[in-house]
C-alpha cells in the first residue's frame, strides 16, 4: 500500500482546487481554503488509519427498486 504520508497531500489537493476554482478566490480566501484542506485531511487520515477486515461492510441504505406496472 502506498504510504499516505510520502507525498504532500495537502499541497497537491490545494493546488488542484486552486487550479479549478482559484480564479474565484481572493488571497484571503485562498488562505482559508488551504487551512480547510488541512482540516479535511486531518479528519480523513485517522479514518484511513483504522484497520478493518475485508468483510466489514459499509452501512448503506440501498435497496433495489421495483415499481408496479
Amino acid at each position: 500500500m502506498a504510504d499516505e504520508k510520502s507525498y504532500d497531500e495537502v499541497g497537491l489537493t490545494y493546488a488542484a482546487l486552486m487550479q479549478h476554482y482559484g480564479d474565484r478566490l481572493s488571497p484571503e480566501m485562498a488562505g482559508i481554503l488551504r487551512g480547510a484542506v488541512e482540516a479535511v485531511l486531518k479528519t480523513v487520515n485517522p479514518v484511513r488509519a483504522v484497520p478493518l477486515a475485508n468483510g466489514d461492510a459499509p452501512l448503506l441504505g440501498f435497496a433495489p427498486v421495483r415499481t408496479e406496472e
Binding site: T13, L17, Y21, R24, L25, E28, M29, I32, L33, A36, V37, A39, V40, L41, K42, T43, V44, P46, V47, R48, A49, V50, L52, D56, A57, P58, L59, L60, G61, A63
Partner: protein, 465 residues
C-alpha cells in the same frame, strides 16, 4: 385565561379543548409576540399572520363542532426555515434564497396541520444548516441568533430561531433539525427541551438536505412531555422519504415505575468547559435518587472524524450545483464561500471507509447500551458564546463532542434539558441518549430529571409580559 406564555403545549391544549381559550385568541397572542419580539432575537424569517389567523379560525370552528383532533389542535408553532412551505419563502437561512418558494409543504408541516397545529412563523437558521464551515454566529440572512438569556450571546445553531423563539415564549413549540448538534445545541444554549429522534423516525421530505444519512427533524419545546406529544404527531413512515422507518411510535407519558439505569461514557467530560462539567456532575448526582448510574468504556475509535467524513462527503454532493457554479459566493460568512471547495478532498474510499466504520460503531454502541435506559452527557461541551466570537465546533474539528458524534453517526435519539446556568446567566444542558427507537424511555428519563430540579421553570427576564 391568564397569560399563556410559557405554558406547556399539554396545558395549552387542555385550555383549548375545554374552551377556556380559543385558538384564535392563542394564535393572536403568539403572532403579536413573534412580530414584536422576534426581531430582538433575530429569530424569525417570516411571520405568517394572515395564513395563521385563517387556520386558527378554522381550528376554532372544528373544535366548536366537536371535532377535536388532540393536544396540538389550535396550538401555534414555528418551523425552521429549511422546511418547504407553499405559503412563505423557504430560505435555508441564505440570502441566496430569500425569495425562493416551493409549491408543496414538507411532510412534517402536513402532519402538524393534520394534528391541528397552526404554523405561525418560519424561524431563522444558520445558512445551509451550518455545514459550510462557518465560525461565527452571524452566518445567516437574518443575522446572528440572539440568546434570550443574554442578548450579547448566541442562541446556538443551526436551529437558532427555533431555540430562541421557544425560550423567549414567541411560540409554544418549534421544529428544528439536526445533522450534528443543531437541535441539541440551541436547546442547550437556550435552556429548553429539544429532542433529536432516531434516524428515520421523522420524514425529511421537503427539508433541505445537508447529509442524507445524518439529517433528522425533531421538536423543540418547554418540556420533554411536549416533545413527546409533538413527536407523536410528526413520526411515521413516508413513501416520499425512503429512510423513514416502519417502526411505530406512540408517545407514552406514563412515568417509569422502576429505577432507571444510566451509563456515562468514561472521559465524556474531557475537554468540556468547567461550569458545564460541574453542572453535569450535579445533574448526575441528582439523578442518583431515581437511577443507578455507572461508568462505561467504549472502543477507542475516531468517532468525530468518522462522522465528519460522512458529513463532508455527503454535503459536497448535496450542494455540488451551488459549489460548482459559484453561487456559494453569495453566502454571508466568508468561510462559507470557501470551505465547501475543500470538502472535495474527501475521496470516495474515505467516505466508504467511514460508512464501514459506521457499521462497527452502530453495532458496538447498541451492545454497549444494552441494559441501559440511556447514556448521560453534557448536551454541548461549551455554553453559549458571545455573538462576535468564534465558537468551538466539533464539525470544524475545533472542540470535542463525543456523544454528538456517536449519536448522530449511529442515528440514536437524544434529548437535551437544562441542568444549570453559567456565571454569565446562560443555561447548560444534559442529554439523555437512548438506544434506537427508545424515545419513550429517554423522554421519561428527562421528565424524571425535571421532577428533581427546577431549572426548566426559569425563563429569560423580560420575556413573560
Amino acid at each position: 385565561m391568564g397569560n399563556p406564555v410559557f405554558l406547556t403545549v399539554r396545558t395549552l391544549g387542555e385550555l383549548v379543548r375545554t374552551g377556556q381559550v380559543s385558538p384564535v385568541e392563542l394564535v393572536t397572542i403568539f403572532l403579536d409576540r413573534l412580530e414584536k419580539l422576534g426581531p430582538s432575537y433575530n429569530a424569525v424569517v417570516t411571520v405568517l399572520r394572515d395564513e395563521a389567523m385563517k387556520e386558527a379560525q378554522a381550528t376554532a370552528d372544528e373544535i366548536r363542532a366537536g371535532r377535536y383532533r388532540g393536544p396540538l389542535h389550535g396550538i401555534p408553532y414555528g418551523a425552521k426555515d429549511l422546511l418547504a412551505t407553499r405559503t412563505a419563502p423557504t430560505t435555508w437561512g441564505a440570502e441566496l434564497f430569500r425569495n425562493r418558494r416551493f409549491d408543496f409543504d414538507a411532510t412534517v408541516i402536513c402532519k402538524l396541520r393534520d394534528a391541528g397545529a397552526v404554523l405561525a412563523a418560519k424561524l431563522s437558521m444558520v445558512e445551509f444548516a451550518g455545514g459550510m464551515g462557518y465560525r461565527q454566529p452571524n452566518a445567516s440572512l437574518t443575522g446572528p441568533g440572539v440568546n434570550p438569556w443574554d442578548t450579547n450571546r448566541w442562541s446556538g445553531g443551526s436551529s437558532s430561531g427555533s431555540g430562541s423563539a421557544v425560550a423567549a415564549g414567541l411560540v409554544p413549540f418549534a421544529i428544528g433539525s439536526e445533522t450534528w448538534g443543531s437541535i441539541l445545541g440551541p436547546s442547550n444554549h437556550c435552556g429548553i427541551a429539544g429532542l433529536r429522534p432516531t434516524f428515520g423516525r421523522v420524514s425529511r421530505h421537503g427539508a433541505m438536505v445537508l447529509s442524507w444519512s445524518l439529517d433528522k427533524i425533531g421538536p423543540m419545546a418547554l418540556s420533554p412531555d411536549d416533545c413527546g406529544l409533538i413527536l407523536d404527531a410528526i413520526a411515521g413512515a413516508d413513501a416520499s422519504d425512503p429512510s423513514t422507518t416502519a417502526q411505530p411510535f406512540q408517545y407514552d407519558p406514563t412515568p417509569s415505575p422502576r429505577r432507571f439505569r444510566f451509563g456515562v461514557i468514561r472521559g465524556v467530560t474531557d475537554g468540556v468547559e468547567a461550569t458545564t462539567r460541574a453542572n453535569f456532575d450535579a445533574a448526575v448526582a441528582a439523578m442518583q435518587r431515581v437511577a443507578d448510574i455507572e461508568e462505561i468504556s467504549i472502543a477507542a475509535l475516531p468517532y468525530e472524524e468518522i462522522t465528519r467524513t460522512i458529513l463532508f462527503g455527503e454535503l459536497a454532493s448535496a450542494f455540488e450545483d451551488l459549489i460548482e457554479d459559484g453561487r456559494i459566493a453569495a453566502l454571508t460568512a466568508l468561510e462559507d464561500r470557501v470551505t465547501p471547495y475543500s470538502r472535495m478532498a474527501v475521496l470516495a474510499k474515505d467516505y466508504i471507509k467511514a460508512l464501514r466504520l459506521r457499521s462497527v460503531v452502530a453495532a458496538d454502541m447498541d451492545r454497549a447500551m444494552r441494559g441501559f435506559d440511556a447514556l448521560l452527557g453534557p448536551s454541548r461541551p461549551f455554553p453559549s458564546t458571545p455573538l462576535d466570537e468564534e465558537f468551538p465546533s466539533a464539525i470544524r474539528g475545533v472542540g470535542k463532542d463525543l456523544m454528538g458524534a456517536i449519536g448522530n453517526l449511529a442515528g440514536l435519539p437524544a434529548i437535551s434539558v437544562a441542568d444549570g446556568f453559567t456565571e454569565h446567566g446562560v443555561p447548560t444542558g444534559m442529554q439523555f441518549m437512548g438506544r434506537a427507537y427508545n424515545e419513550n424511555i429517554i423522554l421519561a428519563a428527562a421528565s424524571a430529571y425535571q421532577t428533581l430540579t427546577e431549572w426548566h421553570l426559569r425563563h429569560p427576564s423580560g420575556t413573560a409580559e
